[in-house]
Amino acid sequence: MFEAMAFYFFSAVTIVMFWITVTSKNALYSMSALAAGMIMISGFFFLLDADFLGVVQIIVYTGAVMALYAFGMMFFDTTREVKENIRAPKLVFLLSGMTALLLVIAFVAPIVGDHIEALYPMVEGVENPQAVGIVLFTKYLVPFEVAAVMLLVAMIAGIILAGKKMDESLTLKIDDEFQEKGVQ
């Protein structure tokens, strides 16, 4: 009974949050609602006993992805309403609605037709993180390693791009410029 109650609670809150994200004209409302929705999704993972994936959902989406959105928000006046320039609202609504409907059908069809089965079912007596690890390091070893190398390259590139001017202090430099102007 508790699981059903929790499921309906999380579904209702998630849908309301994403509804606010899409419909709100204030960018700050949208961002907060998106973050709240992402955290609520992790509730479904916990309900399915996938604790590890639930925690990863919290860390990746709220810790990393949302904070990057927040960086983007710094360039706007978040307290003002965004004026969207949509020329054909009916067409946009129809296209996005159809895409969403197609996605739902594509995912629900195998469940309804009962044609879904786990290719790599959970090994008995193995905990969550270990189960993820077993699949990652056997079946998906190559994609996993390629992704790891890509992330490493991205990290090094990021440090080099950002680190060029790391040795000189911006604060001290500005101070020097002021002093030079003062002398003239």
């Binding site: 907060s32 709220t62 810790g63 960086f71 710094m74 978040t78 307290t79």
Partner: protein, 331 residues
């Protein structure tokens, strides 16, 4: 245990943890002022009650009765929610921390942990990390340029140091082979010499340094650096909303103390003749004192020094530490 018994026990545990930790967080402000005062050869709060102990109550009354100001141009709902996020995430993180060893009361064995999930460490760190939304949203909603600067610094500082925390904790987790805080504690049950701090001293120091940045303590309290950006994200706040940010900050300090004790300092295992329950309280108290000690001893640092420290010093050391641990474990 039956379902009803489980629900009652959990509700009681939640109430006890909420009550005790928020009371300790309040008392922490008094301790902080007293410790800072003694280190700077002052007396600190002295007038309210013996040695100023009742200063906490006076401050509480002041915060509760102060006018609650919401600025006219702010985004009001977000402005009001932000402090609640700060306090809530700090307490939710405590849910997966085993606070004391199991004990028996009225013939019932009690596990002093609210939710024993098998990915405890990740859960605590993840929820603490999502606490970054409190200063971020507060700063962006309050339509104040100091608030905005505080919010920008939040995103930069907390995100960067999250990387160091994760990498530094990875090496001890490789040794233990489990993400459950209870397993990590039991791994060190052999006594003083079994503490992970002896096999992973580098990881311990990195974790502490990153912990200072994540809980926004001096020398890394750039989010509300008084000398530069007035009060940062909290500039526009007053009364209880302002107080909630700081209840969250002190609760986070206590959580971090528990994490460091459990992972590196032997947790709640018996320590010589000291029973386990007392041992972990002593360790957490020492770490709390260490936070205050550092605040008295070190000045603030500049934002560029903060980034330099994170990406050029701490992160490479953390990666090397993980690699060396892996090589040693393979051999």
């Amino acid at each position: 245990m039956t379902l009803t018994g489980f629900i009652i026990a959990t509700v009681i545990k939640i109430l006890v943890v909420l009550g005790v930790i928020s009371a300790l967080a309040g008392f922490g402000t008094y301790l902080e002022r007293k410790v800072l005062a003694f280190m700077q050869r002052r007396l600190g709060p002295m007038h309210v009650g013996p040695y100023g102990v009742l200063q906490v109550a006076a401050d509480g009354i002041k915060l509760f009765t102060k006018e609650d100001i919401v600025p006219q141009n702010s985004v009001k709902p977000i402005f009001k929610i932000a402090p609640i996020i700060g306090a809530a995430t700090a307490f939710i993180a405590l849910a997966a921390v085993p606070l004391l060893p199991e004990f028996e009361i009225f013939g019932i064995t009690i596990h002093p942990i609210i939710a024993d999930i098998n990915v405890g460490v990740l859960f605590v760190l993840g929820v603490m990390a999502s606490g970054l939304f409190a200063p971020l949203l507060a700063g962006m909603a309050s339509s104040n340029k100091w608030g905005m600067l505080g919010a920008a610094r939040t995103a930069i500082q907390l995100l960067s140091y999250e990387v160091v925390t994760g990498l530094s904790i990875l090496a001890p987790l490789m040794l233990v082979g489990s993400l459950s805080l209870i397993d990590i504690n039991n791994y060190q049950s052999g006594g003083f010499t079994d503490w992970i701090v002896w096999s992973q001293p580098v990881a311990f120091i990195l974790f502490l340094i990153a912990g200072f940045a994540e809980t926004n303590r001096t020398p890394f309290d750039l989010l509300e650096h008084e000398a530069e950006i007035v009060s940062g994200y909290a500039t526009e706040y007053s009364g209880m909303r302002w107080g909630m940010f700081f209840i969250g900050e002190y609760a986070n300090m206590i959580t971090l103390g528990f994490l460091a004790s459990l992972i590196f300092l032997g947790g709640f295992n018996d320590w010589g003749f000291i029973p386990g329950g007392l041992a972990i309280v002593l360790k957490v108290s020492f770490l709390f004192f260490f936070f205050l000690w550092t605040r008295a001893a070190w000045p603030h640092i500049r934002p560029d020094q903060l980034m330099w420290l994170c990406w050029k010093v701490l992160m490479p050391i953390a990666v090397i530490n993980v690699v060396v641990t892996g090589i040693v474990m393979m051999m």
